[in-house]
Point group: C2
Chain length 405, copies 2
């Protein structure tokens, strides 16, 4: 950015970390209707419960229309916070209180607030490597020094975590993990490793920020306890969201912070950031969620459909990808992760793929430190099974040609 | 905050500026139904266009339900950004382009993003003194050094602004002004001073951040041009909002930044903060706003009602406040500003007032530097004329007693 183009404006130092997202630009080029896109993290629009939301909106506006248009509490709408507690108790066996719950405008805002309250420039934050790009951006915007923990198909490797914690001159500000169906890899932290990671966090005094947007979208395997429920997990923040199980467009998520002092700081930061999350969206969601079984039944529909799409993608990968490719087999979530032969750069591959009208996200921006360039992320929730088969066929041909070149 | 109460969490340095808002706490104590509250900045709930919003929600969900529940663009919903351009052209004679408009989750978020992109710790930011508390919090959270420009009933004093600009070792990062019906004082920057301030900003190379949430709510006097429309105003950011003219609960506002490089940084900061503002809220608002005349007619209703309430409050102040009190006579907006005799501290006065079931906001937190403690802010939009008369009567008695003590 040249100074001239900014005229009298002089940017803050942190803007060096606030570059336009590579993914945002990719998503724009892949939005054309003739492109089969595995690039975004978009839910299937045909499965949104539009009619139920329409009924809920009408009922809500009839019952509490003026309240839904008025200012609300920074902490969030109390009945929705109570619903979050019931939901966590039911789905994760986790008991929390409404005054530990902060409603946020999507989990992205939760990550921004956590960084705003905890990160001073140069502070160390640990993340799985690779990790969610939006988290890297949010932490980077506060000039965190982000350190990647090596991970494999069972999640972060506890021995590597231990080695890193021992080598740091002072403990990191926190450790950010997505234990269930991670973005971008689709892998989950195994039960044994959850215990080891929780124990390491406790013994080194490192707070854990646990992000669980996909936990309810399980298509196989057994449920695992959240880190927040394990012994020694006193210093914890848990993030959850309606984005993947109801709607991302309404921008509703939650952050649970049992630590009182920290919770109060997060509420102040939330107020400073946008006063509060939309009263309208919160009351609308509550009207939908209060109907017994409404969300559970909707999640069942998503699990069935997305499970079939995951299976379709795994079959298509088996069928169409050339030798030398490997991929993860997620038990849930929205994504899987592909490793192509080492000589292929996924960025160059994308340009070829777009010519064949198929899109994905190259893996490079998800990596901390040196990117592994022969990796890419595929989303399987947004396209139907036929388009998955057709799209992976196209991708397979593009990879084969790149490998022969 | 003791370290022990935070356990393993270590707060960032900026948290020293993120204290729980005094006003948030006051508003909680004044929410009881038997209290007549002039404390908040709340629109009149009985005037919200609930039925029109209900119709719009139903139509919108029928026409574009899935899109309203899906992820959207960081910049905001394109038709809503086009509406903002038409609205600014019609109401302020200002011509801007949709790709200069960023939709935000309320103007508070606009202020947060501006500070995030421009403010390094220790940077100087100029504001009217007193100024909007939410802006002071947002700028303070990025450790700005906030300098107050002395102001009177015609807004900031250009000779004081000039003196401050000459005395600073380097130009401030920006100057933040609310030229129309300012919060907290209700005063407006006069036409002559607008020209002088714009000229000073241009000659010292200081960007102007102009916040105009109340401009459409005029009950008297002639309209004045925005600073952004005056000569020399190349480096500018203009903030506007639906909060006071449609609904604060839907959290929709806009930020106009004609500077391309700055706009791109603001979009990146927005994406890092919460990805994008609710697709649902944006499409709902657009469905309401696209109906020709809908907003204009609603604003007419608000102007009539709030104008009568302002008049009722001015009459009641005349009738009930003891000698030695002075107050502003705003041409619009939601607030007026009262100066009580110098020996009275408005914070102590509030405790007495709450015993008599009437509430206001003490002026102290709005001041930069040494607070003028015998000042207070009154809101006249939220209570009906009868309750205004009754509430100001109670307030007058409390002030008289405090003066006699």
């Amino acid at each position: 950015m040249s100074a001239a183009s900014l005229s009298g404006f002089r940017l803050a130092a942190r803007c060096a970390r606030l570059r336009p997202s590579a993914i945002r630009e990719i998503l724009k080029t892949t939005a054309a209707p003739d492109v089969i896109s595995f690039a975004g993290g978009l839910p299937a629009p045909e499965l949104f419960p539009v009619e139920a939301v329409r009924r809920s909106a009408d009922e809500m506006l009839g019952e509490e229309g003026a309240d839904s248009l008025q200012y609300g509490l920074a902490e969030g709408h109390p009945p929705l916070r109570e619903w979050v507690c019931a939901h966590l108790s039911e789905t994760a066996g986790l008991e929390v209180a409404p005054d530990q719950v902060l409603i946020t405008s999507g989990s992205q805002q939760g990550l921004d607030l956590v960084a705003k309250v905890l990160v001073d420039p140069g502070d160390t934050v640990l993340v799985e490597n690779p990790s969610y790009l939006g988290a890297l951006q949010a932490f980077g915007a506060y000039e965190a020094r982000i350190v990647g923990i090596p991970a494999d198909r069972d999640g972060v490797q506890p021995w590597e975590l231990s080695r890193i914690l021992e080598s740091l001159p002072r403990p990191p500000k926190f450790m950010y993990l997505i234990p269930n169906f991670q973005n971008p890899t689709g892998t989950s932290l195994s039960a044994a490793r959850r215990s080891e990671v929780a124990a390491l966090a406790a013994s080194f005094g490192v707070p854990v920020v646990e992000d669980d947007p996909y936990g309810s979208l399980r298509y196989g395997g057994a449920g695992l306890p959240p880190l927040a429920a394990l012994p020694g997990a006193h210093d914890r923040i848990l993030l959850g969201s309606l984005s993947k199980i109801l709607s991302p467009g309404i921008r509703l998520a939650w952050l649970v912070a049992p630590n009182r002092g920290l919770y109060e700081q997060l509420v102040s930061a939330k107020q400073s950031a946008d006063l509060h999350t939309s009263s309208f969206a919160q009351r609308l969601a509550w009207q939908y969620l209060r109907r017994p079984g409404a969300l559970r039944e909707h999640i069942e529909i998503l699990r069935r459909a997305y499970g079939l799409r995951r299976d379709a993608m795994l079959r298509a990968l088996e069928r169409h990808l050339p030798e030398g490719c490997r991929w993860t087999r997620p038990d849930g979530g929205l994504f899987l992760w592909v490793e192509v032969p080492r000589r292929i750069d996924a960025g160059a591959l994308l340009r070829e793929a777009l010519r064949r009208k198929v899109a994905f996200v190259p893996g490079a921006p998800f990596w901390v430190g040196e990117p592994v360039r022969n990796t890419l992320r595929l989303n399987f929730s947004n396209a139907c099974e036929e388009r998955i088969e057709e799209g992976i066929g196209r991708l397979g041909r593009v990879i084969a040609e790149a490998g022969n070149r």
